[in-house]
Every structure is written in C-alpha cells, then in structure tokens.
C-alpha cells in the first residue's frame, strides 16, 4: 500500500527489500525536498542576508523543532545535528565522557551493543583508566536483575544501552534502566538507531539524558544524524569540533562559543540532509508512528509464524511479544548466511548476512559466526515475507549437503 510512495520499487519492480535495519528506503517526498533545496534555494545557512539563505536557514531550524517534537524533547535547543548515530555517540564520549567520567569510574554497556556503542567507550576507558563493564545477554534479552544489582553496587557514571537490538530485535526496558541509573547518580545514553525509526520514543517519558539516532534509517537521507542531550547537561558541555558557525566572537587567542546547540555544530552542516530528514518526519507523521509500529508488529508476527514452520531454521531473539521489534535474525542448519543472501539476491530479495556489527553478541553469546537478518519498514508487506520464505525453502533444498 505504501510501496508506491517509494520510487525504488518503481525502478526495481521485483525488489523485495528486507534490510531496513541497515538503511531504509526513501519516499518520493524526501527526494523531492532535497531536489527542491538544491534547485530553488541552495545557499548556506545563518548569516546570509538574502532571501534564499533565510529560506534555507528557516528550513534547517524548522527541522530541529520538528525533531524535538517527534521525540518530545522539551526544547529544540536540545537537538544537535550530526552525521549519524555513530557520530552522536562519539560526540558524547569525547566531550561529556572525557570531562565527566573519571579514572576508576564505571561505564556500563551491554553485550548486544552495536560496535558504534562499544568502541567509543572502549577508547575512552583506555584513555582515562575507566572500567568498562557489560550487562549480560541471557535468552536473547538483557539480564535485568543482574544489571540492577550491578548498577546498585558499582554505580556507573554512564549506562549506554541500545533501545532495540539490531541483531535480535529485542526491545530493552530503557525506561526502567534510566530509573535505576539515575537513582544511583549515573546518566543514561540510549542508542535509538533501531527504535526512533519504528516506534514512539519520548525522551521525557524515558528520562533519557542522551539519545542518538540516524536519519537514513528513518526514511531520510544518509549523512544526517541526531543527538539529543538534556538541556541541563548540554549547558555544561564543551564543544566537540571547533571552527565556523559555533562562535559568538573570536579574538586572536580566545573565543567565546555560541550557545547550544550551535556550539556543537561546527562548519557547514548537511543542509540538504536536514531538509530531507524533515520531509521524512512529515511522511512518518502523516502515516502516524503508532500505525508504523503496528504495521511492523503484524509483519513480525507473520514472519515469525512462517519461519517457525521450517525445521532447519533457528530463529534468534524473543518469541513474538511486546518486547519484539521488526528485526529477525535466523540461522539455517549447515548453510552459510552468505550463500543464503547471495541466492536470495538472485531472486531480487535483499537481506543482510553477517555479524551486523555485533561481534561480541555473535561470538560470545550466540556462538555463531554470522546470521541472516531480515528487517522491515512501512513499505513491506506480507507478500515480501511470502517471497522470502518460499525462496528460502528452495535454497535449502538446492544447497543442502
């Protein structure tokens, strides 16, 4: 039903796209918005005293407001534009983290984190002698009881946790974790890369201190990401990158920085990307985030049911439940995921095979080298899943040893 809004499916009529966790497709309205900017009011933002620059500035700043509303931030001043989730998390590690997490302090992450929510903390802990600890994953979810005990005991300065696992599809109880972290004097960073594009995420209700997400996974363009930081924290943070666009005044040896959020946006930003993201949010709002969530939930239920009928297939992650998002990883007896993905591709079915940037989860917890993963967005339908499952069945007979 929504497929016709996405030109990729017109141009590839046979394409079954099941890799939205990697990146989503873009509706026509997003592509048009970017084109419109480049064709009709391309100019740099801020300080341009002419009409099209004011128009571009206006579009850029309106996006900030729109995002604030989308995640229910108190103020648009809490929204910083970055390139992606990875950069958002790095920004926090290299500013707030560097200044506030002291030697012997603890940072707690989990075994199901994406590498982009592991490496910045690993690096920081190496640099300042911080103790990096992991919440265990048990039966495809976080071991919350042990995590709670550990937080109560070790009082980590930061809890950095993914909202939704990009390999398992597990939705983590981040609201509860935020409560436990705060009670013990710590902060919580939520990796929203796989949640914000698919479900209502309310930073005030979750009481998130930091939230990171990527535009390209939420029907927007690549190159634009978002970092939300609670204003009282943001006020005390020092800049990440320095240069143009983030100052009040500069003299030879000293600079007075601009107020947040501009202080954290040095250099010419991805203006087109921001405008594209704005159109993506409009598109999602028109459908309604609850509707998107329900749609994906139904697809997840349908896919889990169909896959569970195949005896050679092991489904990773939780059974269908409230805590299960639209990401399904499977392992097929004796068939390497690369072979599956390649053979599916011969039928124009796009899935992801590999470790999904989750080495620790794969190696230490699941004890597999790779999985085959399917993931959804609003343009998917039951027919996509039928074609995937049928194709998978014929691959299993073809390649089984």
């Amino acid at each position: 039903m929504y497929k016709s809004d996405f030109p990729i499916f017109k141009n590839n009529p046979n394409l079954v796209y099941l890799d939205s966790a990697a990146t989503s497709q873009k509706p026509q309205s997003v592509i048009d918005a970017i084109k419109d900017y480049y064709e009709n009011y391309n100019s740099n933002i801020h300080r341009g005293i002419y009409k099209i620059s004011e128009q571009a500035t206006d579009a850029y700043e309106k996006t900030r407001k729109k995002i604030a509303k989308f995640i229910n931030a108190k103020s648009e001043k809490e929204i910083i534009f970055t390139r992606n989730t990875t950069e958002s998390i790095n920004l926090i590690a290299k500013t707030w983290g560097k200044e506030n997490v002291k030697a012997e302090d603890k940072i707690l992450i989990s075994e199901m984190e994406h590498h982009s929510n592991i490496l910045p903390w690993q690096q920081l802990s190496g640099e300042q002698n911080i103790c990096l600890r992991y919440i265990n994953v048990r039966d495809h979810k976080l071991d919350i009881q042990r995590a709670e005990a550990e937080i109560n005991e070790t009082k980590p300065a930061l809890l950095a946790i993914t909202h939704v696992s990009n390999s398992l599809g597990t939705i983590n109880p981040v609201k509860k974790l935020a409560e436990i972290a705060h009670k013990n004097g710590g902060m919580i960073l939520i990796d929203g890369a796989q949640s914000v594009p698919h479900m209502q995420v309310d930073v005030q209700s979750l009481d998130a201190d930091f939230l990171a997400f990527s535009g390209h996974k939420m029907l927007g363009p690549t190159g634009i990401g978002v970092l939300y930081v609670k204003e009282e924290i943001l006020k005390k943070m020092n800049p990440f990158l320095t240069g143009g666009g983030m100052i009040k005044s500069v003299s030879r040896f000293e600079t007075e920085f601009a107020d947040h959020p501009y202080k954290f946006e040095a250099g010419t930003p991805d203006i087109a990307g921001t405008i594209g993201l704005s159109a993506a949010i409009d598109y999602m709002n028109t459908i309604g985030i609850e509707r998107i969530e329900t749609h994906e939930r139904n697809l997840t239920k349908y896919a889990l049911k169909k896959l569970s009928g195949l005896s050679e297939v092991t489904i990773l992650g939780l059974p269908f439940s409230e805590d299960r998002a639209g990401v399904i990883s499977i392992v097929v007896d004796e068939i390497h995921p690369h072979d599956i993905a390649q053979l599916l591709d011969e039928n124009n079915i796009a899935v992801r095979a590999g470790h999904h940037c989750n080495h620790i989860l794969m190696k230490d917890v699941l004890k597999v080298t790779a999985t085959t993963r399917i993931s959804f967005h609003i343009y998917n339908d039951e027919n996509d899943i039928d074609r995937f499952v049928e194709s998978l069945k014929s691959i299993m007979t073809k390649i089984k040893r």
Binding site: D339, L343, A370
Partner: protein, 124 residues
C-alpha cells in the same frame, strides 16, 4: 543473469575433493575470514619442490568450500614457483563464475592458506 551457484560449484561444495587430513604433512596452515567466519586448514606433502598430496578441512560458505576443492585438484603436481604465480584471476577462472567484491574473499581463502603453508608472500 550470472548464476554463481551453478552445478560445478554445488557439486564441489556438496562433496569436496581432497577433504580431510594427512598423517605426515610437510607443510600446513590454517586461515580464516574473520568477517564471515569461513575457515580452512590445509596440509601438504611436498616432494622435490612440488605438491605431492594435499588435504583440507574447509568450513564455510559454498564458494570457499568449492574453491578449496577445485584448487586442491589442480595443485597436485604443481611447483612452488607456479603456485606463487597464481592470482585472483586464476581462481575466478577455476571457479568459472564472476564474483562480486564481497564474495571474492571467500574464493581466495584456500589459496591464501596454501601460500601461508608454503611461506609464500601473499598480496593484500
């Protein structure tokens, strides 16, 4: 369309030639593709600068297993010098399929292992 999983590949994948191990190898090596977890252990018996026997245990995707099998067949009797000259193009020729950049590493794994066993330099 380029069918990678043609008969030849599937046959060698399903029943790989020279699979197994040797009791008294003169050379051996293991090699792994860390990105996908494919692994190979190759064992050789060298005599007068030539491969007399080769066995391998390959675990991985169809491409890497078939490549190991096909390569093992053509290597028997080959000299170290000629093995040193084998390159990516030769492996593609042996497999008889076009491979995308993401899969070429699978196909090259066995050759890398053989070179490692013979202490030959590998490019990349």
């Amino acid at each position: 369309m380029n069918q990678i999983y043609k008969e030849l590949i599937l046959d060698h994948y399903k029943s790989p030639q020279n699979a197994g191990s040797l009791d008294n190898p003169t050379h051996e090596a293991t090699e792994e593709n860390t990105s996908c977890g494919d692994s190979i252990k190759v064992q050789l018996i060298m005599k007068d600068g030539r491969i007399k026997k080769i066995k391998h245990i390959t675990e991985g995707c169809a491409i890497s297993v078939a490549a190991a099998s096909l390569l093992s067949e053509i290597l028997v009797g080959k000299s170290i010098i000629s093995i040193g000259k084998l390159d990516e193009q030769d492996i593609i020729k042996i497999l008889g399929v076009q491979l995308t950049a993401s899969r070429i590493n699978c196909a090259l794994l066995p050759l890398r292992a053989v070179r490692k066993a013979l202490k030959l330099k590998t490019e990349n």
